[in-house]
């Protein structure tokens, strides 16, 4: 709840950015669906997990920036968290952007299987991946984002290959130039 309030406070704070301007920072928050490679943990099939995805992008140059990405996904037994950072390339258009990024960081996987002495099992390991985001410029300070990522994570001494889809709102801050007219 605090995260949602904070997100809309940031939206209010971003007032003032005009159309056609390239922002200095983007903050994204949204709903996310993850197709988790649960078979590697002994589950019968891949599992769909649902949750959130937040990301902040600092645009260092017009086309290049750094993205910090965090996501959490939840199922009946499984909980996954990713904390990632990586470079981003942005292809800008008048009404939309396309972001390409690589991500590196940590994956934290928890399996809630009730035991006599513990409530479940947890493992933290390396994670890497990448993907793309499509941003539609809905308002001068808002965009709507649809993103898709691939992750390769090492937890529980296995390697999981996952896919993530996120949908949400992007808030823009500051400005570093004007976008190219088509």
């Amino acid at each position: 709840m605090a995260a949602i309030v904070c997100f809309f406070f940031l939206g209010w704070a971003s007032v003032g950015l005009e159309a056609q301007q390239v922002p200095r920072f983007d903050v994204f928050g949204g709903y996310s669906d993850r197709l988790f490679d649960a078979k590697k943990l002994g589950y019968p099939n891949y599992t769909n997990l649902y949750g959130w995805n937040f990301a902040t992008t600092g645009h260092i140059f017009m086309k290049y920036g750094v993205v910090v990405d965090a996501s959490g996904h939840y199922g009946s037994q499984l909980r996954l968290f990713n904390y990632m950072v990586g470079p981003q390339y942005t292809r800008r258009r008048d009404k939309s952007d396309l972001d390409f990024h690589f991500l590196f960081g940590k994956a934290q996987t928890r399996a809630n299987i009730e035991q006599l002495t513990r409530s479940g099992f947890e493992s933290v390991g390396r994670s890497m991946g990448g993907g793309l985001d499509f941003n539609y410029h809905w308002k001068p300070r808002y965009s709507i984002r649809v993103g898709a990522d691939y992750f390769r994570s090492n937890t529980f001494r296995t390697t999981q290959n996952d896919a993530r889809v996120s949908v949400g709102l992007v808030l823009h801050f500051g400005h570093m130039g004007h976008r190219r007219k088509l």
């Binding site: 078979k39 002994g42 019968p44 009946s76 299987i113 529980f156």
Partner: protein, 358 residues
Amino acid sequence: MLDKSNRLALTWLLLLGSIGCTSTHTAYLTLPTLNGISAYRIDNNSGRLTLIVGSPYATGNSPGPVVVDPSNRFVWVANRTDDTISLFKIDSVNGGLSEVLPRTTTGYAPLAMVINSSGSFLFVANELSSSISVYSINSSNGALLAVSSPFPTPPNPVALAVTPSGNFLYVVNSNLGSVLAYSVSASGTLQTIAGSPFFSGNGAAAVAVDPKGHFVYVVNTTDSTVSIFAINSATGALSTVVGSPFATGTAPVSLALTPSGQFLYVANASSNNISGYTIDPTTGFATAITEGPFSVGTAPTLVVSDPDGVYIYALSQTSKTITVFTLTTTGQEVQGDLTNTGYSAATSEPVAAMSISQ
């Protein structure tokens, strides 16, 4: 009719739904040096085993025999130096285990266990106290209740098997080289069958009953043979089939039948291979499969058939591996010869026993 966007969404959903949807079994392996039990997911398409998260789960000391109940809800493990049985609940989502306390007391050194096909009784062979414990199983929570005090046997019962009907129990006694035969009443009490014990061979070590309840198979480690007996369906008495005992490799220690009862496999610990036989369904005569014996690496100590009769798993305690074989099929017909799939799974510690869910 669906418009284009709906068709796209439907295609996406079907794609997501189809990814990785395979039918599977779960296997449970006891690790006595680790005092634990590991759970594996078996991919029915490849026979491959994947360790289930959380494995190994803690048991009592020196876990040995393990059985899965027919409804796939419970697992029981006999702790050989604790003289107890651990009850585990199977997680319905991933097949993982969680123990339910308290543990049930058995006789000394529970060395073998078997459950009847209806899941109503569990039989335990106590090697050092030379007895058979019989427990009724609470179908709702898996709890065990001793039917009576343990039934005494001659010294050193080491293996047992029950017929699919649940009417007869056969216990291997290695000292006598014989099979002890018991009838099982509706309440679980045992009654010695006339003519028992039935001589098998020197070093009798493992026993199995064919899925149709027609024959009993016993491997004789010292003699390097397998004995086959026909079961009298009315009395449970045994009679040696023509040609029995049949030669195996050196030091047979374990045996497995396919669910059809058509093929028998014997693990030979000293000759490092598996002997295969085709069983005549009428006479019980065993014909060695000409392509065999099948090489399996170092000292196979266990051989297990999967419930679908597609794969045979050979376990080695010394190399700590599970080798996966597949039965050759020609068209719709299953042949008895084994093909090594090239896939083997490593276990963290030597395995004492393996049981596969239905």
